[in-house]
């Protein structure tokens, strides 16, 4: 089932009098529960495409349809609500809140997504996901005391604790070694398949492409 569609998406950055078109009319369709990888050389526009799709910056032209709703015609508050409840994000770095424990990071995300779960259900949900990522023994730890791999696992848990429909991952394994990269990608694949989450991921790492259902190569602002 198609959940996310991009039509003729364009993005132009203007510096002074110079306008540079980074995305030159991208068309893309994502199916529910599938992982799509965006690959391409630096400057090809893949990160720009991901951040526009995720509602983190506006497009210059074109349409983005999420569940049939046109995101390009929404205001900031409507997009924020979608980001909070329907989208999940994993970045190159974990970007955890430094003064919250692992468990509190997940509580915060549930709160932000305005979950309908009560406190007991929230606690159970968090316990379940911590078990899934193998971090239940570290639930009271602060980010500073976690290893890079552990932090990224917590970041993934935070991205999906509220059961979003879409997961946007911008080089989620870039800061990890090869072994941890594989662990993290397996985790993303297993969780998104279990929870039927649609994933759009940017990666440079060719080994990670094995985990994707579809691969889209970007070149000079166009999807090939």
């Amino acid at each position: 089932m198609t959940i996310f569609t991009i039509n003729e998406l364009r993005k132009t950055f203007t510096t002074g009098e110079v306008a540079e078109e980074i995305l030159k009319g991208i068309d893309l369709t994502l199916q529910q529960g599938e992982i799509t990888a965006l690959v391409g050389a630096s400057g090809s526009g893949k990160s720009t495409l991901l951040t526009i799709a995720a509602g983190l910056q506006p497009a210059s032209d074109g349409k983005i349809l999420f569940n049939g709703r046109n995101m390009t015609s929404m205001n900031q508050e409507q997009i924020r609500k979608i980001r909070a409840s329907d989208f999940g994000f994993v970045f190159q770095s974990a970007h955890l809140v430094p003064f919250l424990t692992v468990e509190e990071q997940l509580f915060l995300m549930l709160e932000v997504s305005e979950t309908t779960l009560n406190k007991v259900q929230q606690k159970k949900e968090i316990a379940d996901i911590l078990k899934l990522i193998g971090m239940e023994h570290r639930k009271s730890a602060y980010p500073a005391s976690l290893s890079g791999g552990e932090r990224q696992r917590v970041a993934i848990a935070r991205a999906i604790i509220h059961k979003p429909q879409m997961l946007f991952a911008d080089e989620p394994t870039a800061s990890l070694d090869s072994k941890r990269s594989k662990d993290v990608m397996e985790l993303i694949r297993d969780l998104t398949k279990t929870l039927n989450i649609t994933t759009l991921m940017v990666t440079h790492d060719e080994e990670m492409l094995a985990y994707a259902d579809h691969i889209i190569t970007m070149k000079d602002g166009l999807a090939e």
Binding site: A84, V97, F99, L100, Y142
Partner: protein, 344 residues
């Protein structure tokens, strides 16, 4: 979940430093405000403790009561027309006790009135501070401009003028001492509207206080220090929260990216500001009120609950404004910026 409180708990030292600076500044402000109030009482309790009303002095006196001489007919008419009105004069001078020790006082005399001590000729009523210095009822005091003697009739609380204890004397004795028949001032307690008296200029209580040169200069300096400290504390809040916000730009960006409302981030900052300020103020109020009791005798210190509450509210407001101004960064921060910056 209260993330503001979680951050305070995790970064105690950072918030304690800010809190201790707010505490020091507010404590200093309370102490200086107490001194300003104390000096103001010491300088003009005689006037400050009067009910609201109007003072009148001669128009030719150029707002200097010492130069004012009110025509006796004008005085008589004014006192007859207005209930509770009194004519009075104030002159600085000296009293010598039986051991010939000289003491500086402010001689005050008035027509019969409930607002001022009325004494018989040859009697004198003094401010209680002179009792603490050893004078007692029945003591004989003299003045080199007065042919007779003054017998101490009693003492009254908090009657000071120009940092000197007030000595209430009879009008006839005053006229002899200062070789005048006219009074300097007329005071009419507030009867609603301000009566106009031909040839006389009217002043409210506070306007009259400001015509006393030492009073206005002293209060202006002290109040300026108090308000500078209040402004400094506002700037401190702005600077501290600005620095904290700069450190947290990345964090704010990520929180915005995952869907946290900008208003929630402002609430987080305001909660922290109110928490720190409330604790710092509670401590400085406790200490400054204790100082109220332990201040050395003779030190003009008076910090009332009203002044303390007013200043505390000003501190909270200025802290709020300072923190909010620095928080404009939060509104500006873009999630993308934070993501591109790397780890927070």
């Amino acid at each position: 979940m209260n993330i503001a409180w979680k951050e305070i708990k995790k970064s105690k030292v950072k918030f304690m430093i800010l809190g201790s600076i707010v505490f020091l500044v507010s404590f200093l402000t309370f102490i200086i405000s107490g001194l300003a109030n104390g000096l103001s009482q010491d300088n003009a309790a005689l006037i400050k403790d009067l009910p609201d009303g109007q003072f009148y002095m001669n128009e030719d006196a150029e707002e200097t009561y010492n130069l004012s001489l009110i025509d006796p007919n004008t005085q008589k008419a004014a006192l007859n027309e207005h209930d509770g009105a009194a004519a009075l004069s104030i002159q600085m001078g000296f009293l010598n006790d039986e051991a010939d020790k000289q003491r500086s006082v402010a001689f005050v005399t008035s027509t019969e009135s409930e607002l001022f001590e009325n004494v018989q000729a040859g009697e004198i009523v003094l401010d209680r501070s002179l009792e603490e210095e050893g004078l007692k009822v029945g003591d004989i005091l003299t003045n080199n401009q007065f042919s007779g003697e003054f017998t101490v009739k009693g003492f009254v609380d908090q009657q000071k003028y120009s940092h000197a204890p007030v000595a209430f004397i009879n009008m006839e004795n005053y006229k002899e001492m200062y070789r005048v028949n006219e009074m300097q001032l007329i005071f009419i307690p507030d009867g609603g509207e301000t009566p106009v008296i031909d040839g006389l200029q009217s002043f409210t209580n506070s306007e009259f206080l400001n015509t006393i040169p030492s009073y206005s200069a002293e209060q202006l300096s002290l109040n300026m220090i108090v308000w500078f400290l209040v402004v400094i504390s506002g700037l401190l809040f702005a600077i501290f929260f600005y620095m904290m916000n700069v450190q947290k730009i990345g964090l704010y960006g990520i929180l915005k990216a995952i869907g946290v409302k900008t208003s929630a981030l402002f609430k987080m900052m305001w909660t922290q500001m109110f928490f720190i300020t409330a604790i710092a103020l509670a401590l400085s109020i406790a200490l400054s009120q204790s100082f109220n009791f332990i201040a050395p005798d003779g030190m003009p210190f008076s910090l009332t609950a009203v002044t303390t509450v007013q200043l505390s509210i000003v501190f909270l407001l200025i802290g709020f404004v300072g923190a909010t101004l620095s928080g404009i960064q939060i509104k500006k921060v873009e999630p993308l910026q934070a993501i591109q910056q790397g780890e927070v």
